[in-house]
């Protein structure tokens, strides 16, 4: 296990701790959730293989699920996110490609690139998550409100965390 993996593991527990004990209890207007652990999944390096990525997504999702008693819901949304990630990388390739070994963070890729990339993925993740939670499309209007409010709440917290912690380690 090299240094990078150890840092990633510590980061994982950091995110999990924040998610379970802080952000799970902060809900805006009863509808806006901040699933900050998504930030952990979004900022894996570009070269990460898609199968490994999905397995990481599944494990992260299940960990969050165990603590929130929502078994399977976060796991399925996270697997979807990790599956779609490479497609978005392809869509938004900058001129000259991606720098080798770098990560999709706002400090490396720039704010506007990161916000397009992350807003799309967060939106899809949350849509999947809340539709699975509702068990279908009844309560549709309520679910839509939850999705939109939560997307912006999650996005803002991820951006703040990225700018606070990503200087030295290149992505917390």
């Amino acid at each position: 296990m090299n240094k990078d993996n150890i840092i990633k593991l510590i980061t994982f527990f950091g995110y999990l701790l924040f998610q379970v004990f802080l952000f799970n209890k902060m809900v805006l207007l009863g509808k806006g959730f901040a699933f900050v652990y998504v930030g952990f999944l979004l900022t894996f390096q570009f070269e990460l293989g898609i199968i490994a990525a999905m397995l990481i997504g599944f494990a992260t999702g299940v960990s969050v699920d165990i603590f929130s008693n929502t078994l399977g819901i976060h796991a399925s949304a996270s697997v979807l996110l990790m599956y779609l990630r490479p497609t978005l990388f392809k869509l938004f390739t900058p001129h000259g490609g991606y720098p080798i070994g770098s990560k999709p963070t706002p400090t490396i890729m720039g704010f506007s690139w990161f916000s397009t990339y992350s807003l799309i993925l967060i939106f899809l993740h949350h849509s999947w998550l809340f539709i699975v939670e509702a068990g279908g499309f009844h309560l549709f209007l309520f679910t839509i409100q939850k999705i939109i409010l939560s997307t912006f709440f999650t996005f803002s917290t991820i951006i703040i965390i990225q700018y606070l912690f990503s200087k030295k380690t290149g992505g917390r």
Binding site: M54, I66, F67, T70, G72, S76
Partner: protein, 271 residues
């Protein structure tokens, strides 16, 4: 064979995706079943104790509120006790309440903004809790035990869109159904009340005697909104829940001493 393997290899990412999604959705479905003990929930000892530590820290911040709540409940109980003392002397009737025992317990984790909210409490099979028992708070009903671990149990909160509770409106209707609509943790709906009843805002909704989980007459809420659409056959009733689910901290698990007897009777009837 070769082309089949090539096909598998080519679409391996998609196949793994389908596999993992199936696994996750299987977990979702399995988790909504009662009674099936799985390892991955907060009745697990490790998860439960981590949540409890976190709650122990948090509960310091709401000590004043909890104390006030308890002293209020004390006062209420004392007034009831004095009333009962007077009536006991008059008649020796057997009270249905004596069929129930209560196990007090503390909430270590709670959610109110999901659609299927789950509460974790810090007592389990060691304290005599079994799945299906009712849970009531200081002022009204809270939910029903779902899974039991050694030292922790999970409770399906009343705030769950799939839960319906047999209720009555005090002095007016002796059977109706209370269900949460998933929107605000403060309010719930009363369903199937025909339009010929004469209801008013402020009427109290309590549990009915037609269930073996809760004692009859435990408060659920107070009618806060009453709409009777022209063409509807039922009232549209909103109640304000008596329990404040966002600040709930101490609960009692209801043990119905007659439950085994009731169960075996129902079984004989069904056969």
């Amino acid at each position: 064979m070769r082309s089949f393997l090539l096909f598998l290899y080519k679409y391996r990412a998609f196949l793994v995706f389908i596999l993992l999604e199936t696994a996750a959705l299987f977990l979702v479905v399995q988790n909504s079943n009662y009674n099936r003990a799985t390892f991955f929930n907060s009745t697990n000892y490790a998860v439960g104790s981590i949540l409890e530590t976190s709650n122990n820290i948090q509960s310091y911040f709401s000590l004043t509120a909890t104390n006030q709540q308890l002293s209020k409940e004390n006062a209420l109980l004392r007034s009831k006790y004095l009333g009962l003392l007077a009536s006991i002397e008059e008649n020796d009737k057997i009270d249905t309440v004596s069929n129930f025992a209560f196990i007090n317990s503390k909430i270590v984790n709670n959610s109110v903004f999901l659609l299927n909210n789950i509460i974790t409490i810090n007592s389990g099979s060691d304290q005599g809790i079994t799945a299906g028992m009712g849970v009531i708070g200081s002022s009204g009903i809270v939910g029903k035990v779902k899974r039991v671990g050694k030292g922790y149990s999970t409770v399906v909160s009343m705030l769950d869109i799939d839960v319906s509770i047999s209720a009555e409106i005090k002095n007016k209707i002796n059977l109706c159904t209370v269900q949460w609509d998933g929107k605000s943790p403060e309010f719930a709906k009363v369903l199937y009340v025909p339009r010929h009843y004469n209801l008013a805002i402020g009427d109290t909704v309590v549990t009915s005697g037609f269930n073996a989980i809760y004692p009859s007459g435990v408060s659920i809420g107070v009618i806060s909104k009453l709409i009777l659409p022209e063409d509807a056959s039922f009232f549209d009733i909103q109640i304000k829940l008596i329990n404040d689910f966002t600040s709930l901290s101490l609960v009692e698990v209801v043990l119905n001493k007659n439950l085994p007897q009731i169960d075996s009777l129902t079984q004989t009837v069904e056969e």
